[in-house]
């Protein structure tokens, strides 16, 4: 092989590696989409946010992973855990839980905290769920930096549960509703405190460590 061909081959190999690295970096840092509830918001009015939790997302790249989804203002379900709300605004949250429940690792998370007036489960007020009783707790919605925690009562594991998102209300579900005041502008991590990453050590791997599944950011804008 002549020297010129060796140079061409070398440059080509370097370019291919560079492109591969670039794609890998882009794939790693790519963020899930953000559902924007702040756009067009009228000052003084509350914002309504609707989420759903599913036991298995049902699609690639991780069809078996448990996940949250967010309903956009247009009514479409978006597979993301990024959503944006205006600052210092009442946020009314509705979470439709399609997953089963279990005892909490730490029953302390069975307590409703940080909301405006507790929470409701299928329209009935509650402040505490005994995760060792009934269907247990499926997930929690928690923003630790705001002291916000709401346990989500689980569905019976004997029922035929929704296995692919987005789920519809034809499947067994529990509806949890609560409100809180959004803080000042910033990005606030939120998460589930049930170690629901089945198949991972202590249940804390996989979806529990991946933004877009059981962790996300509430983005608060002025």
């Amino acid at each position: 092989m002549s020297t010129s061909w060796r140079v061409v081959a070398f440059v080509g190999a370097v370019a291919a590696i560079a492109v591969g690295v670039m794609f890998a970096v882009v794939a790693l840092v790519r963020e899930p989409p953000t559902v924007n509830f702040a756009q067009g918001h009228q000052s003084g009015r509350a914002v309504d946010v609707t989420l759903q939790t599913v036991g298995s997302y049902g699609s690639n790249p991780h069809p078996t992973w448990v996940s949250y989804l967010v309903e956009s203002p247009g009514g479409a379900w978006v597979h993301t855990t990024y959503w944006q709300v205006p600052a210092h605004t009442r946020v009314n949250v509705t979470i439709v839980n399609y997953d089963s429940g279990s005892p909490l690792r730490n029953q302390q998370a069975g307590l409703v905290t940080g909301t405006l007036g507790g929470a409701t489960l299928n329209g009935k007020q509650f402040r505490l769920i005994d995760s060792n009783a009934g269907n247990g707790v499926g997930h929690t919605f928690s923003i630790p930096t705001l002291g916000l925690n709401v346990p989500l009562y689980g569905n019976s594991s004997n029922a035929t549960l929704c296995a692919a998102a987005p789920c519809t209300e034809k499947s067994p579900h529990e509806v949890i509703q609560f409100s809180f005041m959004s803080p000042g502008p910033g990005q606030y991590p939120w998460q589930c405190f049930v170690p629901c990453g089945l198949g991972f050590l202590y249940g804390n791997g996989g979806p529990m460590q991946t933004i877009g599944y059981m962790d996300g950011f509430m983005k608060v804008v002025a």
Partner: protein, 324 residues
């Protein structure tokens, strides 16, 4: 250090004038003594009180004192090196067109200065090793986690135990002498010896209450005990200082030091307010055993006897009443 460099720099091949060397030497010492005598007290008086981690607790104050002692000792050493370097650059630099300054008998070494330097630095290092070791164990282990059987304990025979439970990604706190309620709020009483019993429900975390001068690893199934005694009212920050997963950086909260009376009021109120959830918690235990199977894994007592009403440590097994 070359002893020859402290003497008058001789022109190549020439011996220095006999009366030049002592003048340089005494001049260097004089500059060093004066600057050290000025800067050391200035540092101690004006900077020392602001050195982290502050004086919120006895162990934080101890850490601040240690840092100040280290700096006050280190400053003259730094000054000695810098003064010599600056003096050499200014006084003994080669003049343009002049003779080569390297060479001569005085450049080959100066045994008294070499021995003196080695002896001085050895004494300083050994002293600091002894001082540091002593300071590490007092007061009460200097705020570090001492494992489940602490050797260095507070002088007070009345200690308020507070359990720190870490999990991905938050800290919660149990107060065994107040019915074992568990909360995300860390409130502690002023002028009361506190025993933090740090453990984890999943991976390794680290409980770092910076202003309290407390830092203890949180390991699953391990009771890691750290002591401190607050001496100032105010707020402090708790952070996880062990990389523990996705939201490690968000694993922090703010604690409060309040008066003993205010603490008692808060604790009794929280005990009452959280009673329903406390009845659902496992009995208080030094550590808990989470189920490794994930979502089905509640946490369970490790069958260690739960606390009595109070917990005492050290050589004063008096019968204390609950602190606060």
């Amino acid at each position: 250090m070359s002893g020859g460099a402290t003497a008058s720099p001789p022109p190549a091949g020439d011996d220095p004038p006999a009366d030049a060397a002592p003048r340089h030497w005494w001049r260097l010492i004089a500059i060093w003594v004066v600057l050290s005598a000025i800067l050391d007290p200035l540092f101690y008086v004006f900077v020392g009180p602001h050195v982290p981690p502050g004086r919120m607790t006895n162990v934080a104050g101890g850490a601040q004192f240690d840092f100040n002692v280290l700096f006050v000792i280190a400053l003259p050493v730094i000054l000695g090196v810098w003064i010599f370097m600056g003096y050499a650059i200014v006084i003994w630099r080669a003049s343009r067109g002049g003779p080569d300054p390297i060479g001569g008998a005085a450049a080959r070494g100066n045994m008294p200065i070499q021995v003196g330097w080695i002896l001085t630095t050895t004494v300083i290092v050994l002293f600091l090793a002894g001082f540091g070791t002593y300071e590490l164990v007092q007061p009460g282990g200097s705020g570090g986690g001492e494992g489940p059987s602490p050797v260095w304990t507070p002088a007070s025979n009345t200690v308020l135990p507070i359990q720190v439970i870490a999990q991905q990604w938050k800290f919660t706190y149990r107060y065994p002498t107040y019915g074992g309620f568990e909360t995300t709020d860390l409130v502690i009483p002023d002028h009361t010896a506190i025993a933090f019993h740090v453990t984890s429900l999943d991976v390794t975390h680290s409980f770092w209450a910076y202003q309290l001068g407390v830092k203890a690893d949180a390991n699953p199934a391990i009771d890691n005990v750290a002591f401190t005694t607050p001496e100032q009212l105010g707020t402090f920050t708790v952070r996880c200082s062990e990389l523990c997963g996705l939201w490690h950086g968000a694993m922090y909260n703010t604690g409060t030091v309040v008066t003993p009376a205010r603490f008692e009021q808060w604790a009794i109120s929280a005990q009452h307010h959280l009673a329903a959830n406390t009845s659902l918690l496992p009995p208080f235990s030094y550590t808990y055993v989470p189920d490794a199977n994930g979502a089905d894994g509640a946490y369970y007592p490790d069958n260690v006897d739960p606390y009595s009403k109070t917990q005492t440590y050290g050589a004063n097994p008096a019968t204390p009443t609950a602190s606060g």
